[in-house]
Symmetry: C2
């Protein structure tokens, strides 16, 4: 399957398809037309067809999509047909909130350990997931599989930890620190989550909407 040229914009939409198809599956829906899926998801049917054609397409003329098949195929595309071992660096509120998300486990993202420097947190656990001293990170990574490291520590420390992780052979970073880490080692994949960027986008859209109503 040729996936080289697929844009990140397409990839960003795939989890959303997966989510909607999962809901349909839960609701007992067996098949759906691209028009139906389109109106539920509020994207055009041609967008859906184009997106899915990047991966070979999964629909049949006159039948539409088999919900379970499409759900499973998109799951495979997204790497959800296997489990991923995840650690979280930074066991503050956000780190603990992420460790509490049972949803991630259902998707196969298994949170195995949190790390922190705070002596009051070290030795505690979140739903049985241990909070370990940050100094034990190198040993831990040597002795346990780590597919994804989640960074929730302050911006000032994020780049150094990311470099340390890359040196230890961790190749995927889910970054919540308020800094872009995309310029690192090319062999490390980084997904940045900037919560304040999203809040600013909301603010822009709200201000604009108010202006339009008033004007």
């Amino acid at each position: 399957m040729e996936e080289k040229g697929i844009s990140q914009a397409v990839i960003r939409r795939m989890p959303r398809y997966y989510r909607y198809l999962g809901d349909l599956l839960d609701a007992g829906v067996e098949r759906i037309s691209s028009n139906d899926l389109s109106s539920r998801m509020n994207v055009t049917a041609s967008q859906i067809r184009q997106d899915l054609n990047n991966f070979g397409g999964f629909g049949q003329q006159g039948y539409g999509y088999n919900v379970k098949y499409l759900y499973e195929e998109i799951g495979k595309i997204l790497g959800l047909n296997t489990t991923h071992d995840v650690i979280i660096i930074g066991a503050g509120h956000l780190g603990q909130a992420l460790a509490n998300y049972v949803k991630f486990e259902k998707l196969g993202f298994m949170i195995r350990a949190l790390f922190d420097v705070d002596p009051e947190l070290i030795g505690q656990n979140v739903r049985g997931i241990p909070i370990l001293p940050l100094s034990e990170l190198p040993d831990y990574v040597k002795n346990h599989p780590v597919d994804i490291a989640t960074l929730t520590m302050p911006k000032s420390e994020a780049a150094a930890i990311a470099d340390e992780l890359a040196g230890l052979g961790v190749h995927a970073i889910w970054n919540f620190a308020h800094v872009d880490l995309e310029l690192l080692d090319a062999d490390v994949i980084v997904e940045n989550v900037h919560l304040s960027d999203s809040l600013m986008q909301l603010s822009y859209n709200t201000v604009k909407h108010t202006k339009e109503k008033e004007g």
Copy 2:
């Protein structure tokens, strides 16, 4: 200023410009060429010029951009020249983590109250921000300005609360529940943050990267 036709893709990049310009400002940089900004941000100079031209452009031929001026103008575009009163519905780990983000306050997003149904949480506070009973939400909204409501409660309750908020006149929702709320009342602006979508995107990119290395 004509802003009608600006795509959300452009808007999504504006907070990132704002962030980089803020860092430059902190570092004492007074002006920057679009080429310099381009290499720091890892986007093309022509992309930067195109993006900023949507708002009238802010550069001068041969001079580049005045960092402070551009920072402030983008701040105004994003509605950061004023404060926003924010409430959080759901005072679990994620709600508390968000209430603890001092960064949001620096941007003018003032978190005023959290709401929950859990008797053990009600009456407590996060950095002095009170956790109130959810039953008091209507009264609270009638008596306090609320620009943005943040939803961190389970998916099953999110749509009903969003509708209630819309009825109370709250026009901006920052949604962390695992459901898209975009099909609501057209007068309500919703920004969805789907953490698991972002994790799936990371998983896709990691699996793809591994395949390419092996293949």
